[in-house]
């Protein structure tokens, strides 16, 4: 009897101690992981020049945000990014839907070879081909335009692959039913396949928006005016340390750049994580 209770006791306390350690480790790592963001948020609210002192007695102020907003055409950068992201997403949705549909439901000569070529593009990163793509975009007269930034990303191999998978999993009976009711191929695509792939579209859209909101190297190369420059490029020009800009001001600019996406993420966390997950697993 006596031994029984001690056994039960150790069984109860040991896992609890383990759990406590787990929780502690998880929390410490979580706090370390978001501390750069927290510090920046805090620094952005400090009067400039004082932030790095880590002096918590200073009053909070929005002066850095108003300064940044006035010093750079931030509203314009913001609009450019929104236009760019929308343009790319629209192009991707149309092109990848059509191509995904072709690879999923049509038989044509050379289809499988072409599809392997499409998959190959997953490994030819657009970032690597900057030299030649710059020449092409310039020749097309698209240098320093939103279309010039967006065009190389529109035929996304990844989008085609995802949508092909999604369309392939739609039961053929659904399609046949729609055809009996007199739907054309386009009607079938629009009424049967697109609605069935809704979650895939949502996931793909979220990942595309996040990717292109954050993209930097290619827009840096093909833009040279504030009229087309997206937020990330604007931020890099503004935040370079050698310009001698105060860290509070840089933090304010950084927070302003990431705020829209960050807020969207905090509201739709589950959808975002699901989207990245779904889009990642190829």
């Amino acid at each position: 009897m006596n031994t029984d209770t001690t056994v039960a006791n150790t069984k109860l306390t040991l896992p609890d101690f383990d759990k406590l350690l787990d929780a502690l480790g998880a929390w410490v790592l979580a706090i370390v992981w978001i501390s750069p963001l927290l510090f920046a948020a805090w620094a952005a609210l400090q009067p400039s020049g004082t932030a790095l002192g880590l002096d918590f007695s200073n009053p909070l102020t929005f002066v850095n945000f108003t300064y940044v907003w006035g010093a750079v055409p931030w509203g314009g950068y913001f609009a450019n990014t929104v236009i760019l992201v929308t343009l790319i997403l629209a192009g991707q949705l149309v092109l990848c839907t059509l191509a995904g549909f072709a690879f999923a439901r049509f038989e044509f000569k050379g289809r499988d070879t072409v599809f392997i070529l499409v998959l190959l593009q997953l490994f030819i990163l657009p970032e690597v081909l900057i030299v030649e793509n710059y020449a092409i975009v310039s020749k097309l007269g698209l240098f320093d335009t939103a279309l010039g930034i967006g065009l190389p990303y529109m035929a996304s191999a990844f989008g085609i692959f995802l949508l092909r998978q999604a369309f392939k999993s739609v039961p053929v009976e659904l399609e046949e039913a729609a055809r009996i009711e007199g739907c054309s191929w386009m009607g079938v695509l629009w009424k049967v396949y697109v609605p069935a792939a809704k979650p895939v579209y949502l996931a793909y859209a979220l990942v595309s928006i996040a990717t292109h909101w954050n993209n930097f190297l290619w827009p840096l190369i093909v833009t040279n005016s504030p009229e087309t420059r997206p937020l990330t490029v604007g931020l890099s020009l503004f935040g370079a340390p050698e310009t001698g800009v105060d860290i509070s001001v840089i933090s304010a600019a950084t927070i302003m750049t990431i705020a829209p996406l960050l807020i969207a993420f905090l509201i739709f966390q589950r959808q975002f994580i699901q989207a990245f997950l779904r889009a990642g697993i190829r």
Partner: protein, 297 residues
């Protein structure tokens, strides 16, 4: 009847091509053609207004191999890959195990790990400036508290690359975590129970049961991390610009610099081809690994 079926089939084939054509055209223009054109241009000398560019064979590649900067940059990138890949994967696994455990405030923990994923690399670099600034930055404030003298983390060759590496790990670990998290959720809880009954401790369970089951995820994450070690260079523009004295310069940044700062596109093209070859090897390795895996099943 037969004739009609044949006609129908041909019509469908035509539809298929028409549907795929716009995407294929753009893809050829911005991926296949540039890849080939890059190779072609890497075989020519740099043209100037006085001396037009001439065919040079593999001279540009020879120049690269003779350039000590090439070896510095390649070594840096190998170190960058060699550290960021295993360390991010380890962090990702630990994060996933914790984010999957029954702990209080689990969703806060999960989003704290994941948040860096949705930030632009440029913004991440700005956030980390706050840590690295000599004397005034967070790191120096902490080490200074213990009496250490201020360090110019980004400005000295010994620490510049490491500083860049830390930002990359911070950025990608949370992204890799979600794949482990998803994989962990498919592992039946009875396995842990069975292992416990067999007397396996937590460490044994992790090493002998969990890790092998997570192997496909690890391979997937590994390939992604490898691609990232070529791709993730945006933070260099803010943090170090590849310096000091090339100590933190990575390949893609060097390609950008050659092409757009020194206007030496033939050498940039040659370097690009070397990167594409490396990525091709990764692709082949991945396909082989996937094949092997299916053989086991």
């Amino acid at each position: 009847m037969n004739e009609m079926a044949r006609l129908q089939k041909r019509r469908l084939a035509l539809y298929g091509w028409m549907l795929a054509a716009p995407a294929l055209a753009l893809m050829s223009l911005f991926a296949f053609y540039p890849a080939i054109a890059t190779f072609w241009h890497s075989l020519f000398t740099r043209g100037t207004s006085r001396r037009p560019s001439v065919f040079a064979g593999f001279e540009n590649y020879g120049d690269l191999f003779a350039d000590p900067t090439f070896w510095t940059v390649a070594t840096n990138n190998l170190i960058y890959a060699g550290v960021t890949i295993p360390v991010s994967i380890m962090f990702a696994l630990v994060m996933a195990l914790w984010a999957n455990a029954h702990i209080p405030a689990r969703s806060f923990v999960r989003s704290a790990y994941f948040t860096p994923t949705i930030l632009p690399m440029i913004a991440a670099a700005n956030l980390w400036l706050f840590f690295y600034t000599p004397d005034l930055g967070v790191i120096d404030q902490i080490t200074g508290f213990f009496g250490a003298s201020p360090t110019n983390w980004l400005g000295q060759p010994e620490t510049a690359l490491a500083s860049v590496i830390i930002v990359t790990i911070w950025k990608e670990a949370g992204f890799f975590m979600i794949f482990y998290l998803a994989a962990l959720q498919t592992i039946p809880p009875d396995l842990r129970e069975a292992a416990r009954i067999e007397g396996a401790g937590r460490w044994t369970y992790t090493r002998r049961v969990l890790l092998p089951l997570l192997m496909p995820t690890t391979i997937f994450v590994f390939v992604n991390a490898m691609i990232n070690s070529v791709k993730l260079i945006d933070h260099l523009f803010i943090l170090t610009k590849g310096g000091p004295n090339n100590a933190s310069k990575l390949i893609l940044y060097w390609v950008w610099e050659m092409a757009f700062a020194y206007f030496d596109s033939p050498h940039a093209a040659a370097m690009t081809i070397l990167v594409l070859l490396a990525l091709g090897l990764v692709a082949v390795a991945q396909f082989r690994l996937v094949e092997k895996r299916t053989h086991y099943r």
